[in-house]
Amino acid sequence: MEYEISLATTMAISVLFALSLNMITGFCGQISLGHAAFLGVGAYTSGILAKAGVPFLLTLPLAMLLAGALGVIVGFASLRVRADFLAITTMGVGFLFVGIVRQQDVLGAEMGISAIPDTDMSKLAFMLFAVAMAAATAVLSAYVRRCWMGRVFAAIAEDEDTVRVMGIDVPSFKLTAFALGTALAGLAGGLYAQHLKFIAPDSFGFIESITVLSMVVVGGIGSVIGVTVSAAVLSVLPSWFQVIGDYKLLVYGGLLFLMMRFSPGGMAALVTRVFHPDRWGAK
């Protein structure tokens, strides 16, 4: 049972993390290749505070706050550069985060932070808490997608210039998307640190950013259900099949490539194509 609980916790954290990227890349169309940096900010904030004696539940809002604040700063970059340039800039942010953390003794440098103290929660309670957080994020995502703000996000993703011409304040919507998405990534990071009890800079590098991006892309960019399912499945696949565990990156890389090459809309588009052929192609 112990193992299943741990697996379910990993799954919930991955779903939460993938949904947070979906907020930025899926809804608002701002590609980010450095999203793991915000998972890292959350994890380090929560881990260090917990070691300093702050109760775990109190570290989470602080982790969200710091990740969200840094996210807004990176969001400013999205006002200055677009598309390909933004992809490279966010990738740079990811490398910058790892590069800085690696050299700071305060943050444990290469060795990272270990022995993060336990919470009062049992393993089972922590798993349920993580699942509840992921579910809440899914509900929030579904709500954001339907509300006025979500529609502006979608419009920005579709054609930013037209939205601007219509007199909508594009920068503040973009910054909101970044703030929301990165704060949620910070929350995922806090859970991650508490779950593993150990964090090191390499856990938040480029590969992690690509992994989460592949979860979003495979699920279907912008689709809440698609992203939830694909994050849940992809996060546990390596543990279920040892073969996949050994060739994890080959499978991720291959999936990412094949998905883009043959179905850029991801699983969500595939499902639509199979079950609602009449709807497919309308967009």
Partner: protein
């Protein structure tokens, strides 16, 4: 003397970057794709090079073989992977390319093993002393001269031959070029062949320099080359060359003076972000 030495080391590193980034620029200029998988040909070049060199004992044969194999691989990637998704929004080929690169890196690891291969012969390991007291490996000199020669020949070909002019025309206006009878597919083939061959040349030279070929040797150059073509203003060949050399020098100074605060890769990207915030169109691009 440290000052001169740092500049020299920076220029050597910069010319390696330039070789890799040139292929990326060619591809970006033509197709507007950030071709991350390009660095797989850098690694492929290293592997083909070390295998041919150890079989034949000739570095020249190794370089030629590596360039040809990578060049053909480049054409295949263009035809099979990119051409069918060119009409998609830009993030689609970008993500496909990242997936392709990650899968390729894993394939190298699975096929050739994680620990890497070394040369059975000592190529260009001699040392020379230049300008009084600066010591260089012969391989370092060869990298610099080789890059300069290749880039010189390429720029001549681009301006003096019909196909070179056709490539330039296609970059500046694909539709107009096509209506003048230029085959876009052929120009794409040539760009991918040349770009991948250059990356393979860089791969052989770097592996000679370090006497090591390993599956992950392409990962840092691949992302750094992206930073370089962005700095150079995406698609501009001259800008890319300048940016590669500038980044090489910035890094070699940065590791000495900022090393305790940032690692080498972070310096490159910090520089990139600073430049982009100041000039979003890149360091060496004309605005607008």
């Amino acid at each position: 003397m440290l000052f001169v030495e740092l500049i020299a080391q920076g220029l050597i590193q910069g010319s390696i970057y330039a070789l890799i980034a040139l292929g990326l620029t060619l591809v970006y200029g033509l197709l507007r794709i950030l071709h991350v998988a390009h660095a797989a040909f850098f690694t492929l070049g290293g592997y083909v090079g070390v295998m041919v060199a150890n079989q034949t004992g000739s570095l020249a044969a190794a370089i030629v073989a590596a360039m040809i194999v990578a060049g053909i691989g480049g054409i295949l990637v263009f035809r099979l992977c990119y051409q069918p998704i060119l009409h998609q929004p830009p993030f689609v080929p970008l993500i496909a390319s990242i997936g392709l690169y990650i899968a390729a890196e894993e394939l190298f690891r699975i096929i050739f093993g994680p620990s890497g291969l070394t040369y059975g012969y000592a190529f260009l390991q001699g040392q020379v002393v230049l300008f009084g007291s600066l010591r260089f490996k012969l391989a370092e000199i060869a990298v610099m001269l080789g890059s300069a020669a290749i880039i010189g020949v390429l720029s001549l070909l681009q301006t003096r031959t019909r196909i070179g002019v056709a490539c330039q025309a296609t970059v500046s206006d694909p539709q107009m070029a096509e209506s003048f009878g230029i085959s876009l597919r052929r120009v794409g083939d040539i760009n991918f062949f040349v770009g991948s061959a250059l990356a393979a040349f860089a791969g052989v030279m770097v592996s000679v320099l370090n006497n090591l070929v390993e599956p992950t040797m392409g990962s840092v150059p691949s992302y750094k080359a992206l930073a370089i073509i962005v700095l150079g203003g995406l698609g501009s060949v001259r800008g890319t060359l300048a940016a590669a050399l500038v980044l090489g020098v910035v890094e070699s100074f940065g590791t000495v003076y900022l090393g305790h605060f940032l690692d080498r890769n972070a310096i490159a990207f910090a520089f990139l972000i600073l430049v982009l915030m100041w000039r979003p169109q890149g360091l060496f691009a004309r605005s607008g």
